[in-house]
C-alpha cells in the first residue's frame, strides 16, 4: 500500500503560519538559546535583581554558572522565561532600522494545569526605526491576527506593565460585533534605557516590542482545551491536524 502522509504538530502548523505571515509583513526571523544568563533575561531588560517585577516571571534556575567573558565573574544561568532576551541579543549585533520576530520555547517555574505549562512557546516581535510608534504596532498586529485567524478582527490597547517597554500595553482581541474581549498579548514601546544600554540613540530611534503565547494561539484557533496535550507526545492530538 502507498505511504500515508504523517501529521504536523499543531504548534508547527502555527509556526508555519507565523513564518508565512510575518515574512510577508517584512519581518526577519531570529532564534536564540533556551538557556540564558540572568543578564539577558532580566537585567538588560530593566528587571534588576530584587525588583518586584521579577515576580512576573517565575524562573527555573540552573545549578551551574557561566563565566562572563568581560567581568570573569560567574553569572547565574536560567531557562529563559520569555523570548525577550533575543531583543537584546539582536540589538547588540544589528543597528536600526529592523523588524524581527523570535519564535521559541520558554519556561516558567509554575504548577501545571489546563492553561499553565512549565514549558511553552512564545513569539516575540521587535520593530525599531526612526518613527515607529504605537499606531504602527496596532496596524501591523491587526494584520497578523486577521491573516492568522482568517477573519476580520478588532483589537484594543489598554495599560499594562512590562519593565522593558514604556508605555506598556495589553492587547485585547475580538470579532466585530462581539461584546467580550479576549486578552491576547502584551506589548509596548521599547524602553529608552534598553536602547541606550545597547548604544542605540533613543532620541533618534524608537519602536515597539510585543510578546504572545503560541500555545495559546493554537488553543484558540483549534479549540484545544488543555495546554499539556501539546507536550504529551500523543498522536491522538497530532493525528487530528
Amino acid at each position: 500500500m502507498e505511504e500515508k502522509r504523517g501529521h504536523y504538530h499543531p504548534l508547527s502548523i502555527v509556526g508555519r503560519d507565523i513564518i508565512r505571515i510575518w515574512s510577508a509583513l517584512g519581518f526577519e526571523i531570529a532564534t536564540g538559546p533556551e538557556i540564558e544568563t540572568e543578564h539577558y533575561n532580566f537585567d538588560a531588560l530593566n528587571i534588576p535583581d530584587n525588583h518586584p517585577a521579577r515576580d512576573l516571571w517565575d524562573t527555573f534556575w540552573l545549578k551551574s554558572k557561566i563565566k562572563n567573558q568581560k567581568t570573569k565573574i560567574g553569572e547565574n544561568l536560567l531557562l529563559r522565561t520569555h523570548t525577550s532576551p533575543m531583543q537584546v541579543r539582536y540589538m547588540e549585533n544589528n543597528k536600526p532600522p529592523f523588524a524581527i520576530i523570535v519564535p521559541g520555547k520558554t519556561f516558567r517555574y509554575e504548577a501545571t494545569d489546563a492553561t499553565h505549562e512549565a514549558q511553552f512557546h512564545q513569539l516575540e516581535g521587535l520593530m525599531v526605526g526612526e518613527n515607529i510608534n504605537l499606531s504602527n504596532f496596532k496596524a501591523i498586529i491587526l494584520k497578523f491576527f486577521e491573516e492568522f485567524f482568517g477573519e476580520k478582527k478588532e483589537i484594543r490597547l489598554r495599560p499594562s506593565y512590562f519593565p522593558f517597554v514604556e508605555p506598556g500595553v495589553e492587547v485585547d482581541l475580538r470579532n466585530p460585533g462581539e461584546k467580550k474581549w479576549l486578552e491576547i498579548m502584551g506589548a509596548g514601546m521599547v524602553h529608552p534605557k534598553v536602547l541606550e544600554d545597547l548604544g542605540i540613540n533613543h532620541n533618534k530611534f524608537q519602536g515597539f516590542a510585543f510578546g504572545m503565547g503560541l500555545d495559546r494561539l493554537a488553543m484558540i484557533k483549534y479549540g484545544i482545551p488543555d495546554i499539556r496535550l501539546f507536550y504529551s507526545g500523543d498522536l491522538r492530538l497530532v493525528d487530528q491536524f
Binding site: E3, T31, H51, S64, N133, A139, R156, L235, F241
Partner: protein
C-alpha cells in the same frame, strides 16, 4: 488589591458610577480589574496592581483619586481633625535610626487609650475585604494601611524598655516571636525595630509579640516608617514571610506618604480609642524626595503614540492630573513643565538599578488617561529593512515537510527529564531534575504510548519525530529524533538508516530510535516550504476509555465499491466507531471480498465486549439486508 465599592464611595462627595462602569473605565485607563462580584449590599472588585502602580494604587485614597479623575467626580478626603495634647512624644520615647535602609521613621505617643472592640463601621470595612477584626487600635492600623497604601504599626509603650526605640540591622542571629506566635531566626543584615533589650518588630514585615497591643494596653507608640524596598524583599523571601506590609514596602512606597498616614492614624486613634495624642511627632527623614519635573510637548506624545493630541487636550489632561493627583504644571513656550507628585515613584528617577523618571513614563501617564484604545491603526512610513532568511529555521521547516511526506508524525515532549548533565536548582519534581541530554527518552515513551493506540490512527506502523534542543555540559544543540515501530516484516533499524541517508545526516540508532544533531544544518530559503499544512479542523476530545477492535469481512457482488460498504458500516455504528480501515480486498468468481478493521470507543465509558458484539450484530444484519451480500 481588593476594592470594596462601598468603602471607595466613602471618599466621594458625588455618587460613584455603577460597579460595572468603574470596572470598565479602570481597566481601560488604569489597571486591569480581574473580577467584579456582588457581596451582600457591596461589590468587590479585584484589581491587578502591577509594580509600576504600587506606589499610589495599593490604597483606597489612591484608587479614589484615580476614579475621581477618570469620572470627574468630587472627592471627599479625610481632613485629619483631632485634638492634640501639648505634651511632647520625645519626653516619653527616643528614636535612634542606625541604618541607611530606613528612609524615614515617624513615631508618636498616645496616652490613655482604651483598647476595645472596634466600632461597627470599621469592622464592616475590614470584613468587606476579608480582613479580621482584633481590637480598635490594631484594626485602625490595618485600616490606615488599606486606606493610604502605607503600612503602619502601633506598639504598647509600656512594653518598650525605657522607651528607647532603635532601628538597626541584625548583627548576630537573633530570635523574634511575631504577633501570630511564630518564631523566626533573623540573620545578619535584616532590619529590626527594637528596644535596648529585644527586637520588637521585623521592620516593614511583621510586628513582634513582645510589644503587642492587648486589652490591658494603656499607652501606645504609633509607628510609621519607610524602608529601602530591596532589603524588605530579601528579608521577606529569606524568612518565607509575606505580609500585606512587606508586599507594599518591597514595591517601593515613597517616604512622603508617611506623614499622611501618621495624621490619619492619629485622627482615628483619637476618635475611636479615646487616646490623648501628643502634639509632637518624632520624624527622622535624612534624605527628602527632591522636587522633580519632566518637560513634555504634545509632539512627544504624538511621536510615541502615533496620535494627534493637541495642546488644548494635553492641557486638559494635565489639569485633571493636577486637580486629582497632585501633579503641578506650567506652560513654557511650546513645552509643559510637569511637577511629579512625590508619591509617584514610577515617574521619579530611581536610586536603584531600575530606570524610571523618563519622558516616556510621563507619556504613558498622559497616554493612558487619554486612552490607548483611542489610538488608530496606521501603517509605518519610510521603513526600509531587508529581512534575511533564517537558514536554520528554513532547514528545520523543510525537514518537517520531508518527514511528514514520508509518513512521520511530529511530537513534542518535555525538556525536563530524570537524567542529564544540566541540573536545575529548583526542579518541579525529582523526575524533572535535569534538562534532556537527548531526545531518546521522550521519543521512546511517546512511541510506546502511540503503539498502544495504533489502531485508532488506522496504522500498522508508528513513525514519529521530534525536533528540539538537547543540553550537554557546555552545549545547547538542535537535535532530530526519529522513532519507528514497523510491522509486516520491515526492519526498524534498516528503515531508520535509510531515512537518515536520504537526509544526508549522520546519526546513531538504538532501540528503534535514531538521533542526529542538526545544529549546523541550513537551507537557503523558505521557498519550497508547504504553507497550506493546517486545515480548519477543530479539536475533538480524546477519549479516556479503552477501545475495542473488531474485524468484519464480507462478500458482495463485484460492482459494489468498498466506500459503499464503509458508508453503511459508519452509518450503523454511529459515534462509537473511532476508526475504520479496509485491510483486505480481492475478487473471486464474480464477487468481491472486503475485510475491514473497526475500532470502537466511547467518550463516556468503557465499552464491554457485549456492547461491541451487539453493534457488530446490528452492522451484520444491516449489511446482509442487501441482496447477494454475505458476511463471512
Amino acid at each position: 488589591m481588593r476594592i470594596s465599592y462601598n468603602w471607595l464611595q466613602d471618599y466621594f462627595a458625588d455618587k460613584l458610577p455603577s460597579p460595572e462602569e468603574l470596572k470598565e473605565k479602570l481597566s481601560l485607563h488604569a489597571f486591569e480589574i480581574e473580577s467584579l462580584e456582588k457581596k451582600g449590599k457591596d461589590y468587590i472588585l479585584e484589581a491587578d496592581i502591577l509594580p509600576n502602580r504600587a506606589h499610589d494604587s495599593l490604597g483606597y485614597i489612591g484608587l479614589a483619586r484615580e476614579a475621581g479623575l477618570l469620572f470627574e467626580k468630587k472627592l471627599k478626603l479625610p481632613e485629619y481633625k483631632y485634638e492634640k495634647n501639648s505634651e511632647k512624644s520625645s519626653d516619653y520615647i527616643s528614636l535612634d535610626v542606625r541604618t541607611s535602609l530606613v528612609r524615614r521613621a515617624m513615631k508618636r505617643v498616645v496616652l490613655n487609650v482604651s483598647v476595645r472592640e472596634s466600632p461597627e463601621w470599621l469592622k464592616e470595612r475590614l470584613f468587606s475585604i476579608g480582613q479580621r477584626a482584633i481590637n480598635n487600635v490594631v484594626d485602625i492600623t490595618n485600616f490606615v494601611m488599606w486606606e493610604t497604601g502605607q503600612p503602619v504599626h502601633a506598639f504598647d509603650f509600656d512594653k518598650i524598655t525605657r522607651g528607647q526605640i532603635i532601628i538597626r540591622e541584625v548583627s548576630d542571629a537573633e530570635k523574634i516571636t511575631t504577633l501570630d506566635g511564630e518564631e523566626y531566626v533573623l540573620k545578619k543584615g535584616m532590619l529590626v525595630i527594637s528596644d535596648p533589650q529585644k527586637a520588637l518588630d521585623i521592620a516593614g514585615i511583621k510586628g513582634g509579640a513582645s510589644s503587642r497591643i492587648d486589652e490591658k494596653t494603656k499607652n501606645i507608640v504609633l509607628s510609621v516608617c519607610s524602608f529601602e524596598p530591596a532589603g524588605i524583599r530579601k528579608t521577606s523571601a529569606a524568612l518565607g514571610l509575606k505580609t500585606d506590609a512587606s508586599y507594599r514596602f518591597e514595591r517601593d512606597i515613597s517616604p512622603e506618604k508617611t506623614k499622611e498616614a501618621m495624621e490619619r492614624l492619629s485622627e482615628l486613634i483619637a476618635k475611636n480609642a479615646s487616646g490623648r495624642v501628643l502634639s509632637e511627632t518624632i520624624d527622622v527623614y535624612p534624605e527628602p524626595v527632591p522636587d522633580f519635573e519632566i518637560d513634555i510637548e504634545a509632539r512627544n506624545l504624538n511621536k510615541i503614540l502615533g496620535t494627534s493630541i493637541a495642546d488644548s487636550e494635553l492641557e486638559k489632561i494635565l489639569s485633571s492630573l493636577k486637580k486629582y493627583s497632585g501633579f503641578d504644571w506650567q506652560r513654557k513656550g511650546n513645552s509643559y513643565s510637569v511637577g511629579i507628585p512625590k508619591e509617584r515613584l514610577d515617574l521619579l528617577p530611581s536610586k536603584e538599578k531600575f530606570a524610571s523618571g523618563n519622558k516616556e513614563d510621563l507619556v504613558e501617564e498622559i497616554g493612558r488617561i487619554y486612552g490607548f484604545y483611542k489610538i488608530k491603526s496606521e501603517e509605518p512610513k519610510n521603513f526600509n529593512f531587508k529581512p534575511k532568511v533564517n537558514t536554520e529555521v528554513a532547514f528545520t521547516e523543510s525537514l518537517k515537510d520531508f518527514l511528514v511526506s514520508r509518513g512521520f508524525s511530529e511530537v513534542m515532549t518535555y525538556s525536563f527529564t530524570e537524567r542529564g548533565q544540566i541540573e536545575l536548582k529548583n526542579p518541579l519534581s525529582s523526575d524533572k531534575k535535569y534538562l534532556r541530554a537527548s531526545l531518546f527518552d521522550g521519543l521512546l515513551k511517546s512511541l510506546e504510548l502511540n503503539k498502544r493506540n495504533a489502531p485508532l490512527f488506522g496504522l500498522d506502523d508508528i513513525k514519529i519525530f521530534e525536533i528540539g534542543k538537547v543540553f550537554g555540559e557546555d552545549s545547547e544543540d538542535l537535535s532530530l529524533g526519529l522513532a519507528v515501530s514497523l510491522k509486516n516484516g520491515k526492519e526498524n533499524k534498516k528503515y531508520l538508516q535509510e531515512i537518515l541517508d536520504e537526509l544526508n545526516l549522520k546519526g546513531e540508532i538504538k532501540d528503534n530510535v535514531a538521533l542526529a544533531g542538526i545544529g549546523k544544518m541550513n537551507a537557503p530559503s523558505y521557498e519550497g516550504l508547504k504553507f497550506d499544512i493546517g486545515g480548519n479542523n477543530k479539536f475533538k476530545r480524546i477519549s479516556q476509555y479503552p477501545f475495542v477492535l473488531r474485524d468484519i469481512s464480507l462478500w458482495t457482488p463485484s460492482l459494489v465499491s468498498s466506500s459503499e460498504v464503509r458508508k453503511l458500516i459508519e452509518d450503523k455504528a454511529g459515534e462509537l466507531l473511532a476508526d475504520i480501515r479496509l485491510f483486505d480486498e480481492y475478487k473471486k468468481d464474480g464477487r468481491v471480498s472486503y475485510a475491514f478493521k473497526l475500532v470502537f470507543q466511547s467518550k463516556e465509558k468503557t465499552l464491554s465486549d457485549e456492547e461491541a458484539g451487539k453493534i457488530m450484530t446490528e452492522i451484520e444484519e444491516k449489511l446482509t439486508e442487501n441482496k447477494g451480500w454475505e458476511v463471512r
